[in-house]
C-alpha cells in the first residue's frame, strides 16, 4: 500500500512536546496535514508524484482513445484524455490521508475503501493503489525519496507562525 512515513525532526518534536498546549498541538497537526494532502493532490493532478520530479508515464494511444470516451460527465477540471493524473474518478486522491504516529513521525497514506466489495463494483483503494504502483503511477514513490525542497521550508514556516501566535496566549 502506498504510504510515506515522515519525520518532522527533533527540534519540531521537542517544541510540540514542551510548549504547545494540547489544543494547539492538534491544530498544528491539522495545518500540516491539510498542507501536505493539498500538495499531494495538486501535484498528482499535474501528473507528478509528491516526492520526485519525474512525471507519470505517458499513456498509450489506445488508452487515450478510451479516455476520450470518458470526457463527458463531471470530471475534475484538470482531467485530460492524454494525460494521466488520477482524475477519472478522483477516488484515490480523495482517499489521501495524513496521520500522526508519534511526537516526531507522521504518516501519509491512502485510506481504505469503506464500501463492501461486490462483483462488478469498482476496485477498492488498496487494489487501485497497487495497480497504479505496478504501472508506474505511484503518487508516493518509495524509490529515492526527494521531497520538493519547498515542503520542509513550508513546514518550518507553519511551525514558526504557530509559535509566534502562541506568544499572544
Amino acid at each position: 500500500m502506498a504510504e510515506i512515513k515522515w519525520n518532522i525532526g527533533k527540534t519540531a518534536a521537542e517544541i510540540a512536546k514542551k510548549v504547545m498546549r494540547a489544543s494547539s498541538k492538534k491544530k498544528f497537526e491539522l495545518l500540516i496535514g491539510e498542507f501536505i494532502t493539498t500538495r499531494v493532490r495538486a501535484r498528482a493532478r499535474k501528473g507528478q508524484p509528491l516526492n520526485n520530479t519525474w512525471h507519470f508515464p505517458n499513456l498509450k494511444p489506445s488508452t487515450i482513445k478510451a479516455r476520450k470516451a470518458l470526457t463527458k460527465g463531471g470530471k475534475h477540471p484538470a482531467f485530460s484524455p492524454a494525460r494521466s493524473n488520477l482524475t477519472i474518478t478522483g477516488q484515490l486522491l480523495d482517499a489521501v490521508r495524513f496521520d500522526r504516529l508519534d511526537d516526531t513521525s507522521f504518516l501519509l497514506f491512502i485510506a481504505p475503501t469503506k464500501r463492501k466489495l461486490e462483483l462488478g463494483t469498482p476496485p477498492n483503494n488498496k487494489q487501485l493503489a497497487g495497480y497504479l504502483e505496478e504501472k508506474g503511477f505511484t503518487i508516493f514513490s518509495k524509490k529515492g525519496i526527494r521531497l520538493d525542497r519547498k515542503i520542509p521550508l513550508r513546514i518550518k514556516q507553519i511551525l514558526l507562525r504557530f509559535l509566534r501566535k502562541e506568544l499572544r496566549k
Binding site: 527540534t11 493532490r41 493524473n85 521550508l153 499572544r168
Partner: protein
C-alpha cells in the same frame, strides 16, 4: 517591508521580544488574509486572472476558482517571514529567492510577460487600525507582565528554527 510597531500599536516593545514577534505575526496574518480575500494593499480588488492562466494545468490542478487570491501552491504567501526585528521595528519579506522574485513580479507587474500589477504586500491605515484593535487586550496584559518561562522557551525555539538554514 519595514513596520514601526510603536507607531502602529502605540506601545514601546524594544524590551519585549515576545510581544514584538506576536505583533509581527499579526501583521503578517493580516497581509495573507487580505490577499486571499482578493484585496490589494490599498483595499481594492485585484485585476482578474487571464483566460489563458485559468485554462492552464497548474491552475486547474490546484483546484483554483476565478477568485483572485495569489495562491497556487501557496508557497509565496506561505513563506513570508519576519526577516528582521529590532527595538520597535520588524521587517517582513522572503528569505527564499524564488518566492521573493514571484512576489516582486506581482507587486510591480511585468509588461513583457503581461503580468498585471497585483500589489498585495502592505497594509493601509484601516488594516493597521484593525490589527491594533484586535491586539489591544494582549497589549495591556503583556505590557505589565514579565515574559513567562513559556514565552522564553518559545523564543528559544524560534531562534533555533531561524538558525536552522537547512529548512
Amino acid at each position: 517591508m519595514k513596520f514601526n510597531l510603536k507607531d502602529i500599536f502605540g506601545v514601546d516593545v524594544q524590551d519585549n521580544e515576545a510581544l514584538r514577534l506576536a505583533m509581527a505575526e499579526a501583521l503578517l496574518t493580516k497581509i495573507i488574509d487580505k490577499t486571499q480575500g482578493n484585496k490589494s494593499r490599498t483595499g481594492k480588488p485585484f485585476k482578474k486572472y487571464s483566460k489563458s492562466y485559468m485554462n492552464s494545468l497548474d491552475f486547474k490542478a490546484a483546484g483554483k476558482t476565478g477568485k483572485v487570491n495569489l495562491t497556487l501552491s501557496g508557497d509565496m504567501l506561505g513563506l513570508i517571514d519576519v526577516t528582521d526585528e529590532s527595538r520597535n521595528t520588524v521587517t517582513l519579506g522572503w528569505e527564499e529567492s524564488d518566492e521573493q522574485g514571484k512576489a516582486h513580479g506581482h507587486i510591480t507587474g511585468n509588461p513583457k510577460t503581461k503580468l498585471p500589477i497585483r500589489d498585495f504586500f502592505g497594509l493601509n491605515e484601516k488594516d493597521l487600525r484593525e490589527v491594533k484593535n484586535k491586539f489591544s487586550d494582549e497589549i495591556s496584559t503583556i505590557k505589565t507582565a514579565k515574559s513567562s518561562e513559556r514565552d522564553r522557551a518559545i523564543l528559544r525555539f524560534i531562534k533555533s528554527l531561524e538558525d536552522d538554514t537547512g529548512g
